[in-house]
């Protein structure tokens, strides 16, 4: 490789930092959507680099379903303190208490769809005109069509057939009042890139990603963690397994895989050998073939 050529990780990093700085320059009131998952951690890490030695000039925004892994919340609070940024919490429980949404019923009920209302209410309440998210195009086929700067109308909705073309690195963030943008700086990263970068930069991540002993139950082809929200069904039993999580969502819908990968190096090895997509263990994506596209149109992350 010649001297004036970047490695793929450094080129992706440069692209993402450019996009994050562009958000700062083009919008009045942006925020970073922070779930505590590895992708939003990497986005936050990139934002820190984008503005160093100054602080990240946006708050972190957490849409809290109340169904969290305790480890995620502890991690979030530490990071916020370390970065010296504000934290905005949109609470799904509050949306339920205020009667804005109703809890799902039935066998595989979750709070996944409910987050949409809470998220859009938070956008309105805090007058965000741009929210930076950690979605990647390789994750899911509807996300493969997503722009870096993705327009949302004043109902917070996405119109996939009427997206603004994006050429070179000219990003058009013009909007009317009441509309907002979702911005995805790591669009071009793959799961493998994320892990290689976490390893390269030695980024702190929640312990959940690393293989650990945990009480779990086998359901829907995955190991669901024991929690106060989990009700055992006939024939199910709690067992102790060494697992790790490839993605982090709600504790009620995020399944783990059996794994012995207890270091970042081993995780990179495991990811490169994996034959299933990382979202394969997410019940929210399994509802139908187009469940991601449907949720995104309504205003999902």
């Amino acid at each position: 490789m010649s001297k004036y050529n970047l490695t793929h990780l450094r080129e992706l990093e440069a692209e993402s930092i450019y996009v994050i700085r562009e958000v700062f320059a083009q919008f009045e009131n942006p925020g970073i959507l922070f779930s505590g998952g590895k992708d939003s951690i990497v986005v936050t890490h990139l934002a820190k680099k984008a503005f160093a030695p100054a602080r990240i000039p946006f708050p972190l925004v957490h849409i809290d379903t109340g169904h969290n892994f305790p480890e995620t919340i502890a991690f979030r609070d530490n990071l916020v303190a370390e970065l010296g940024v504000n934290l905005v919490i949109g609470s799904v429980q509050e949306s339920i208490d205020e009667g804005r949404v109703q809890e799902e019923r039935g066998k595989d009920a979750s709070r996944n769809w409910l987050q949409i209302t809470t998220l859009l209410d938070t956008v309105e309440r805090k007058r965000f005109d741009a929210l930076i998210g950690g979605a990647r195009r390789d994750e899911e086929k509807a996300r493969a069509k997503e722009r870096f700067f993705s327009h949302r109308d004043d109902f917070g909705q996405w119109d996939p057939k009427n997206q603004r073309p994006e050429l070179w690195n000219l990003f058009n963030g013009k909007h009317h009042s009441g509309e907002h943008f979702r911005v995805f700086p790591i669009s071009n990263w793959t799961e493998m890139d994320i892990w290689q970068y976490i390893l390269l930069e030695q980024i702190q991540i929640p312990s959940l990603y690393i293989a650990h002993e945990r009480e779990v139950v086998w359901r829907n082809n995955t190991w669901l963690p024991k929690s106060e929200f989990l009700e055992l069904r006939p024939g199910e039993e709690i067992v102790n397994k060494k697992v790790r999580f490839r993605t982090l969502g709600d504790i009620t819908i995020t399944g783990g895989i059996e794994s012995t990968a207890d270091t970042l190096e081993k995780i990179v090895g495991e990811v490169s050998a994996a034959r299933q997509t990382e979202r394969g263990n997410r019940a929210d994506d399994k509802r139908s073939d187009t469940s991601m596209e449907d949720r995104k149109k309504e205003g999902y992350f």
Partner: protein
Amino acid sequence: MTTESTQPNNYLDMELLRFTTAGSVDDGKSTLIGRLLYDSKSIFEDQLDSVENTSKKRGLEHIDLSLLTDGLKDEREQGITIDVAYRYFATPRRKFIIADTPGHIQYTRNMVTGASTANLALILIDARKGVVEQTCRHSFIASLLQIPHIIVCINKMDLVDYDEKVFEEIREEYEQFAAKLDVKDIRFVPISALKGDNVVNKSQNMSWYEGATLLYTLETIHIGSDYNHIDCRFPVQTVIRPHSDKHHDYRGYAGRIAGGIFKPGDEVMAMPSGLTSRIESIDSPVGKVEEAFAPMSVTLTLEDDIDISRGDMIVRTNNSAEPTQDIEVMLCWFNQSGPMSRAKYTIMHTSNEAKAIIKEIYYKVDINTLHRLEEDKDIKMNDISRVKLRTTKPLLVDSYRKNRSTGSIILIDDTSHETVAAGMII
């Protein structure tokens, strides 16, 4: 940077190659992409299962790999790619980003979008048909968007008995046409995407072909000099001022280098003010560096406190972009409704913006034949035309040929805020 070499990670020397493909339903494009993804193990079992199920539901006998790239509900229902789809795969040598676009003339704007960030274009030719209208169109777009490398894949060689003569004839035909283009590096590979000949593995059926396979070419083609490393251009995105006790006097100019190589100590000039200073330090994502080049995102600090803000450009004292209000461009129109006469648009150029009108339309280009249509000046969606723009303030432009970043613009409608056109500066 020393920590990087001590990491136990095999992937740290990988480069990134972005390429674009365009094609219609039956020319084997999806099969080829499917094969590259499949053979590089970038398709996962659950994705393959899902595609297999859908193929069966539709009564297809084979697995339709185009279902992998068609992401939106409407696309899968209609069986066509409407938008640009981005696909990713990696080999131990390189990471690849494919911008996969539809090939019909009504999707010219999508092809232009996909081509705008590509280092390389893959052009597919059906060996039974030779050079057709679509071949010319895709090649012209690649040339117009200054994609440095073209690989022409002469596909379906299995259907012409792997005949060397067919390959040579098509190659000659293409070379004659390509003489009109502005592309430095064109290569030809005879393949069968369906059977796998010369895609990843060397074909046993074409011993007469002595060149490299498609994947090997993609992995090794030299892309180091695709950026302009001569003319220094640093469009300022934003100014970083920490206002903290520790960094009280810090004032950094943040941006992405568009061209040239910057070093601490270099004498530089801020445009449009023309004020000069020297680079004090360059802060990069890996800390302070001794040189910085495109496409790095860095923060420059200068020895003197001069007034610089977003939209300004830092250049070398003896080599600046040209400030001008009259900009000649090749314009691709993106919007359903064509330009209104005397309409004002917002023009975005690097980190700068202004208002602009289309002052003159010289001609439209027939993108199948490259003929100039001097009589037809009625610009519609997907049209490519040569125009003159007049801006409300001078912009610091280079020709697109010299620099893809400082030589490109977009036009935005001030009412709908839609991006209505993209232009390459002549």
